[in-house]
């Protein structure tokens, strides 16, 4: 059983890596990063499946680290895996919050960057005012977003 699970995990990792490798080099680190997998929500069966199979990989229990290794890392921040992984995973929602000037993803981003509470409003305003500098291109990637955010808020 354990071996089967391991094989499944390895297959998934391999498949994910292969998908990333076959696409543009930075695909997976920028906007539109969500890995859809087989999570189409059109059919009845897939919904009932999803109801019970979420996060199913036993061997990944407590998968606390890993995730951003294939992306280039930000230059201006002490390597913070938690920050990188959050931004990588939530880049679309973070971009939306930054454009809007408020939101839960923006709050989490500020907290991970240890922006003091009294400076959060200014932080949000500066990011909103500099949206184009933070999300400098359609193909913007993880490291650039973090570096650009720091550049416009400091």
């Amino acid at each position: 059983m354990k071996r089967i699970l391991l094989a499944v995990v390895l297959t998934l990792i391999y498949a994910t890596a292969a998908m990333a490798a076959s696409a543009r080099s930075n695909t997976g680190c920028g906007l539109g990063t969500i890995m859809w997998g087989n999570k189409a929500d059109g059919s009845v069966m897939s919904q009932s499946l999803q109801a019970t199979t979420n996060g199913l990989l036993g061997n990944q229990t407590f998968g606390i680290t890993t995730g951003t290794l294939e992306c280039s890392q930000p230059a201006n921040v002490v390597n913070n895996e938690h920050l990188n992984r959050f931004v990588l995973s939530n880049m679309d929602n973070l971009a939306r919050d930054i454009a809007r000037g408020e939101g839960e993803n923006l709050d989490a981003f500020a907290e991970l960057l240890q922006v003091p509470v009294e400076k959060r409003a200014e932080f949000a305003a500066r990011l909103q005012g500099n949206f184009e500098k933070v999300f400098s291109s359609d193909q913007v990637v993880l490291a650039e977003v973090i570096d650009n955010s720091l550049a416009v808020t400091h």
Binding site: Q47, T52, N54, G58, E104
Partner: protein, 646 residues
């Protein structure tokens, strides 16, 4: 099932052997050589004197359930036990655990003290263990996990049913362990789920029902789960803050750690996610008796909304928070705009209107913000549905956000969706109806029973309007004139999903039902026949109301009966209907059906008006009137029933 179980154990038996061979303590148990350690003996004697193995805490930690005079753990994985008899012998397991604490510290993370920290903490407290007199293994992985999770508080997370997927009504529950971060997104989620690689739905359903899948706990960042539910599956999420102290939450997290990589047979209906989470909460505070409710009753399934009611009874629920999905946010935002602005947002999202034009239109600035906010969310939604490829999405999304950022901060309240009634505030899932009626001048008494879950006419608070999912509904009738009790209908499954279409969403509505029904055949007799009916179509919200649905469906209808010339008849046709809440308590369903059978060359028509008047979470009145025409014979029927939800 027996075969599967034995194979399951067979594999683990082999693994166990490997561990033994490698010198790991996982399988030592009673066969290990007795350690010549006085302290170990002293602790064992103390434990026996205190009868620790019979204590509630120990039963909770090992998932023991009392069966007759003995005990049996619901965990099947032998790696969860230090004694080979651990599954059924609490004494032996306790003894093996104490012995395990004295194993050489060199095994590090595999040392029993690192593998089973909740058991160790409890024993340490009860026996007054002096850690200085034990080997001191380094638990690097455990320490790292505890540091990352940083347990302070706990929240029960309940993703509500998917709009157009009644099967998801059974839902899923998970826990969120709050940390010292303010942001909820940055905390961790504890999830228990079946592990399956089967893609065939029938195989999946069968194996799931009969426990052929291993269930595993996993821990992952909460933002991953939020994304999955809000942005991918488009299900609203309820978050119930639990009254647990930081010490209790930490105890629970240690216990979850013990379940790391441990398999337990996952049964969809009972030993499922909701049930296992109740166990975790018992480990946080062993005085709680949450699982007994389910073991003691005759019902065989655990519906997630039920577990919330259980927690509420236990006084555990503190705060309630609603987290609308992206689809819900889109509908809400669209509802705030007028027709012109709504169309404009759609045009921007569909690339028919440049975002810059919408941003620079003559409308008030707050309206322009809302138009772009709605367009951005809808572009994300389309991407999640794979209606856009990544490149299109990036360009489109960024161009909208760029324009939006230039309009400054808006009214944050515009995106806040008011919380609907909570799932556990709805009617109870079981239903018993008793009543009387008249069919073609013949009076009858009627009794129907339906253990789960929600019908079109049931009150919608806590459920989704237009989403019906009923299991095993049985109706019997007694006709005094004939002094006969007759089965009127039996439906193992009866699902209808009426999903309204609007400017942004164009879902299909569908239905599937099967079982035994009674209708008039050519000889004029009402006879039972086997029926399978399925259909698909469209539904729309009635204008100027959010509590009325109009629908139309094409249907295929298969009938099997000895009364049919060729035993079988296949029909096609359709149903059109109106479902509306006329007040908070009064709901009406008007429907018309026509079916035309090819082989039999017969027709069936039905016109029905059903009304439902609900008085409380548990009581309602159902009034039905209908007219049928089958084999050119007309039948009128009316009935009144008292409905009791349980």
């Amino acid at each position: 099932m027996i075969l599967a179980r034995s194979r399951f154990f067979g594999v683990y038996g082999a693994l166990c052997f490997v561990y033994l061979f490698c010198g790991l303590p996982a399988c030592f148990g009673e066969s290990a050589p007795p350690a010549a350690d006085d302290y170990q003996l002293e602790l064992m004697q103390r434990a026996e004197g205190l009868s620790l193995s019979g204590r509630r805490e120990w039963n909770v930690l090992l998932f023991y359930r009392q069966r007759g005079g003995g005990h049996k753990s619901i965990i099947d994985d032998p790696r969860f036990f230090l004694s080979p008899n651990g599954k059924t012998d609490p004494d032996a397991e306790l003894e093996a655990t104490i012995r395990g604490l004295f194993a050489p510290a060199v095994t590090g993370d595999d040392h029993p003290r690192c593998r089973f920290p909740a058991r160790y903490q409890w024993l340490k407290g009860e026996l007054g263990i002096d850690p200085a007199r034990l080997p001191d293994p380094a638990c690097a992985k455990l320490d790292e996990a505890l540091k990352a999770v940083d347990p302070r508080s706990a929240v029960l997370v309940f993703p509500a049913a998917h709009n157009n997927g009644p099967a998801s009504m059974f839902g899923h529950t998970l826990l969120r362990v709050g940390s010292s971060y303010q942001s909820e997104l940055l905390s961790y989620a504890v999830n228990y789920a079946a592990h399956s690689t089967d893609t065939n739905g029938l195989v999946y359903a069968y194996k799931g029902l009969f426990g052929h899948y291993p269930g595993y706990f996993s821990i992952l960042p909460y933002y991953e789960k939020v994304k999955e539910y809000s942005d991918l599956e488009h299900r609203d999420v309820w978050e119930y803050g639990l009254r647990l102290s930081p010490a209790e939450v930490e105890r629970m997290v240690l216990h979850i750690w013990e379940m790391r990589g441990i398999a337990s047979e996952y049964y969809f209906f009972d030993e499922n996610c909701s049930f296992m989470l109740l166990f975790l909460l018992e480990s946080a505070r062993p005085e709680l008796r949450l699982t007994n409710d389910y073991w003691d009753r005759w019902g065989f399934w655990v519906i997630p909304a039920d577990t919330i009611a259980t927690l509420r009874r236990a006084g555990l629920i503190d705060t309630v928070k609603y987290r609308p999905s992206q689809a819900t946010r889109i509908s809400h935002r669209a509802g705030l705009l007028d027709d012109v602005a709504r169309q404009q947002a759609l045009d921007v999202a569909m690339q028919r209107l440049p975002a810059a034009d919408a941003a620079g239109s003559g409308s008030p600035v707050e309206e322009r913000r809302q138009v772009l906010d709605l367009a951005a969310e809808f572009v994300q939604y389309r991407y999640s549905r794979k209606e856009l490829v990544q490149e299109e999405f990036q360009t489109q999304f960024r161009s909208i956000l760029k324009e939006r950022s230039g309009l400054g901060p808006g009214d944050a309240a515009a995106g806040a969706v008011p919380a609907p009634p909570q799932p556990e505030e709805g009617h109870l899932p079981g239903k018993l109806a008793a009543g009387a009626g008249i069919r073609r001048d013949r009076p009858f008494l009627e009794l129907s029973w339906q253990p789960a879950y929600h019908g079109l006419l049931d009150p919608d608070a806590g459920y989704t309007m237009g989403a019906q999912i009923n299991f095993i509904s049985v109706t019997g009738r007694y006709y005094p004139e004939e002094d006969q009790i007759k089965l009127q209908s039996f439906h193992p499954v009866d699902i209808i999903s009426l999903a309204p279409r609007d400017l942004f969403f164009q879902p299909f509505s569908w239905k599937v039902t099967g079982g035994l029904d009674r209708k008039t055949f050519s000889d004029g007799e009402d006879e039972l026949f086997l029926r399978l009916n399925t259909g698909g179509g469209f539904a729309w919200n009635l204008p100027h109301t959010d509590s009325g649905i109009a629908y139309i469906m094409a249907e295929a209808d298969l009938n099997l009966s000895d009364r049919l010339d060729r035993k079988v008849a296949l029909g096609g046709g359709g149903t059109a209907g109106l479902l509306a809440n006329l007040s908070d308590r009064w709901k009406v369903h008007l429907s018309a059906t026509g079916l035309f059978y090819a082989i039999e060359e017969s027709q069936y028509y039905r016109l029905a008006l059903d009304q439902h008047l609900n008085f409380s979470r548990t009581a309602a009145l159902l009034l039905r009137a209908g007219w049928e025409r089958s084999y050119d014979l007309n039948r009128a029927e009316a009935g009144l029933s008292w409905v009791r939800y349980f």
